[in-house]
């Protein structure tokens, strides 16, 4: 008895309303139609463009001091001049140029540290969450040891021993952040591990590695996206904190962090020195978060709107 089901396949394909042109077109259509992603990526692109092609955007040298023009207010305030649109800092250097050049360092620092922390943390989280047992205890205790160390003490000691170069700082910040990722990934693993689709995959003979990477990893991406965008801000601001104690990047190299640290003492008289880097951070993060938030909808089907 043959079961010739009379549903012929080509009728399904022919239907024009179900779009089977292929995965890419779906991405393409989604990215364009979703306003959030569009604006988010636009803002982030502008920021990255300014930061990367800094010499084109401003003609000033970020390190050139001009003591006589110290703490001149921004253009629109009285005493401000067209030359220095956003005014100058405590050493008479053009603030806008320093913010743009500073962006290079801060954004790069933020991104690299978050990426390293993300990789290490997720790896730890996946292994401990999925396998559990003895291995989990050891690795999670390493997380405890790492969290146990007060950050400020660790930073001051390490930055006194090692020269605060870019890589030392980003290693330090990923040291600060990776336990967070490990713990979140582990908590997601705990709840997903017993989910039906994982058991189904296992029953189909999928190897542990395949299950972790393909099945469970997809559930981690949304929260990772959420956390990493926030951590970039934390890093930039913590780098400013180091500026207070004289531990951050060696002057006169500008970073958003140490521009703000310098501007702190002049907050009531020269408000712009500390405010504009803050605004720069805000704009960058607004772009990234807008992009990340809406991308999250695409990645996480639950959040995607039905129909």
């Amino acid at each position: 008895m043959n079961l010739d089901t009379n549903i012929d396949n080509n009728t399904l394909l022919k239907k024009d309303n179900i779009n089977f042109k292929g995965k890419l077109s779906r991405w393409y259509r989604f990215l364009l139609t979703n306003k959030g992603i569009f604006f988010g990526s636009l803002i982030t692109f502008i920021v990255i463009f300014c930061v990367v092609f800094a010499p084109l955007v401003t003609t000033y040298d970020p390190l050139k001091q001009d003591i006589t023009k110290r703490l001149t207010p921004p253009m629109w305030q009285d005493g401000g001049s067209i030359e220095h649109i956003l005014g100058t800092d405590s050493m008479g250097r053009d603030l806008l140029t320093r913010i743009i050049y500073g962006g290079r360092f801060s954004l790069l620092l933020g991104l690299t540290s978050v990426l390293i922390a993300l990789m290490v943390g997720t790896l730890f989280g996946l292994i401990t969450g999925y396998y559990g047992g003895f291995l989990e205890n050891i690795l999670m205790r390493i997380v405890d040891i790492q969290l146990g160390f007060p950050f400020i003490i660790l930073v001051v000691i390490i930055l006194s021993i090692a020269e605060p170069t870019f890589w030392v700082l980003s290693a330090l910040f990923s040291l600060l952040l990776w336990p967070g990722y490990a713990r979140v990934v582990r908590s997601i693993l705990l709840s997903e591990k017993s989910a039906a689709y994982v058991l189904a995959a296992k029953s189909l003979g999928a190897s542990d590695f395949r299950i972790i990477i393909i099945y469970i990893a997809r559930n981690i991406i949304p929260s990772m996206l959420l956390m990493s965008t926030m951590d970039i801000a934390t890093i930039i601001i913590t780098e400013a904190m180091l500026g207070f104690v004289g531990l951050g990047t060696p002057p006169p190299a500008p970073t958003w962090g140490n521009i703000m640290a310098d501007g702190k003492n002049y907050i009531s008289t020269a408000w712009w020195v500390i405010t504009f880097p803050g605004v720069a951070i805000w704009i960058t993060l607004f772009g990234i978060n807008l992009f990340g938030d809406n991308l999250q909808q695409f990645v996480n089907p639950k959040l995607r709107k039905k129909y």
Partner: protein, 510 residues
């Protein structure tokens, strides 16, 4: 039965409210309490000989007295010693004031003075740095004592103005000393907690009880925090403020701005035992000419600094502008640089200027400016910022590999010239510049042994200072002007050049 889980949330909230209720201490200051915000921290050890921390030296005169006192004009005044005379080049005899009581009620006698001075001068204790060497005390009777120095020391009297007279029982067991000081000062020690020193009036003080009931010295790390606390009235005096904060102070009717030059000077020190500065005074003078000291004072520090044109500061015995002090002259700097063997900076190894952030105000700013000044004449130099702890550790090293020049301040809180010249330029201990030149040692010894004040002053001004400036171990950048915000209800508060707190005459008008 309400389920258990919400109890976790409510438990946290409960603890929080409970603790708040318990700790509600009324913070409005009672009229008779003067609260002072200080910029550097106090050491928890109250034995005055166990530290050389500037803030402690500034605070000690409120609960300790000294044999002699330096008044606002810089002259010596009798205090616990009513009179003194010089018997021979090595001994001085002091008459001790009678019926002076310690805080624990015991009477002050020459035995207390002997134990205090000998204890302070022994090499074991840090306070020996202020004294010209070991001092022996010989008791003549209950109220007269002779102090014998191992070599003639014209600076003895001024140094004694920095050695507090403590009770002999306290000196014998340092443990007790570390807990609570027992002096004869106008205020008594109450307690030290949360970085705040609490003092109360000493009713039977020999000059009569002070007008203030209580005094508090609170360590507040951040300048803007200090200023805002004064503006909201939580403290009455805030020290070490920034010139950018002056508009805020002046715009506030109930806060008065106090501007006083003090004995602190900021220096740029060359490491004279490390190449390329080793045995090369011309190179050091070339650097000196390349630095726009006037610019720093005018543009960066403006209200917070006064130009310094000598190794000493006005008010210190023997001060006079040094004729050969270099001023900002780029051509001369280039010329000297070539003479020193590095035309336009060729051949100079990459140098590092060390600056501590958070110790002295705006140190980083003028550090960056100096680096640019030097780079302008071709010198390969970079700024190297460190935190205070690291600076303290490596600022005396003779051949540090991390830096070649450093910016460090020097504030001996005393007006004796040797606290500047001898302490900084004598080969041993050769503090910050590690200069080791026999000629400088000879002129310093010569000046020390002259007992006649006028002659000593002449030697200091015409011989000692010019020779040191020629060798240029360190360039004085500017004299610090302390900016203090004082609430207008604080009356009778005056800032001594030695930055020491004299609160006996101060009172709070309502």
């Amino acid at each position: 039965m309400k389920n258990m889980r919400t109890t976790i949330g409510s438990f946290i909230v409960l603890v929080f409210c409970l603790s708040l209720v318990l700790s509600s201490v009324v913070w409005a200051a009672p009229k008779g309490e003067l609260k002072i915000g200080i910029a550097q921290d106090l050491v928890g050890n109250w034995d005055p000989t166990q530290h050389t921390v500037v803030t402690m030296l500034q605070v000690e005169p409120t609960y300790f007295d000294f044999l002699v006192k330096v008044n606002i004009d810089g002259d010596l005044e009798p205090m616990l010693a009513t009179s003194w005379e010089n018997i021979d080049p090595l001994t001085w005899e002091f008459k001790i004031r009678e019926s002076v009581k310690f805080h624990n009620g015991s009477l002050l006698t020459s035995a207390d003075v002997k134990s205090a001075i000998e204890y302070a001068s022994s090499a074991k204790n840090p306070s020996s740095a202020w004294l010209p060497g070991e001092i022996k005390g010989k008791i003549v009777d209950d109220y007269t004592i002779r102090l014998i120095t191992d070599k003639p020391a014209a600076s003895l009297l001024y140094s004694l103005s920095m050695i507090p007279i403590t009770n002999k029982e306290w000196v014998n067991n340092p443990e007790k000393f570390a807990e609570t000081p027992n002096g004869t000062g106008p205020f008594k020690f109450v307690k030290f907690e949360r970085d705040t020193l609490h003092l109360e009036a000493n009713m039977d003080y020999w000059q009569g009880p002070p007008n203030l009931e209580k005094v508090q010295f609170q360590y507040i790390i951040d300048p803007s925090a200090r200023l805002y606390l004064v503006k909201t009235g939580q403290i009455q005096i805030a020290g070490r403020l920034l010139s950018e904060q002056i508009p805020i102070i002046e715009s506030d009717p109930n806060v008065v701005l106090e501007k006083n030059p003090i004995v602190e000077q900021m220096w740029l020190w060359f490491k004279c035992k490390k190449s390329p500065f080793k045995d090369n005074p011309t190179l050091r003078r070339a650097f000196a000419y390349a630095i726009d000291r006037a610019g720093i004072t005018k543009y960066i520090m403006y209200e917070q600094a006064k130009e310094s044109n000598s190794l000493l500061v006005p008010g210190v015995f023997g001060y006079a502008p040094a004729s050969n002090m270099p001023s900002y002259n780029v051509e001369k700097a280039k010329e000297l640089l070539a003479q020193a063997g590095y035309p336009n900076g060729q051949g100079l190894p990459p140098l590092k200027l060390m600056v501590a952030v958070g110790a002295w105000p705006k140190c980083k700013e003028y550090g960056e400016y100096i680096v640019e000044n030097l780079q302008d004449i071709g010198i390969p130099i970079e700024l190297f910022t460190v935190e205070i702890g690291r600076l303290g550790a490596i600022c005396f090293d003779e051949e540090p590999e991390d830096y070649d020049l450093q910016i460090t301040g020097w504030n001996p809180t005393g007006l004796e010239p040797d606290l500047f010249l001898r302490a900084l330029f004598y080969s041993k201990p050769g503090r910050l510049s590690n200069i080791d030149v026999p000629e400088i040692d000879q002129t310093l010894d010569k000046e020390l042994n002259i007992l006649d004040l006028a002659k000593r002053e002449q030697v200091i001004q015409n011989e000692t200072i010019p020779t040191i400036v020629d060798y240029m171990p360190g360039l004085p950048l500017f004299q610090t002007v302390e900016l203090k915000a004082v609430r207008q209800e604080v009356k009778g508060f005056k800032l001594l050049p030695s930055t020491v707190y004299d609160l006996h005459g101060v009172y709070l008008a309502d």
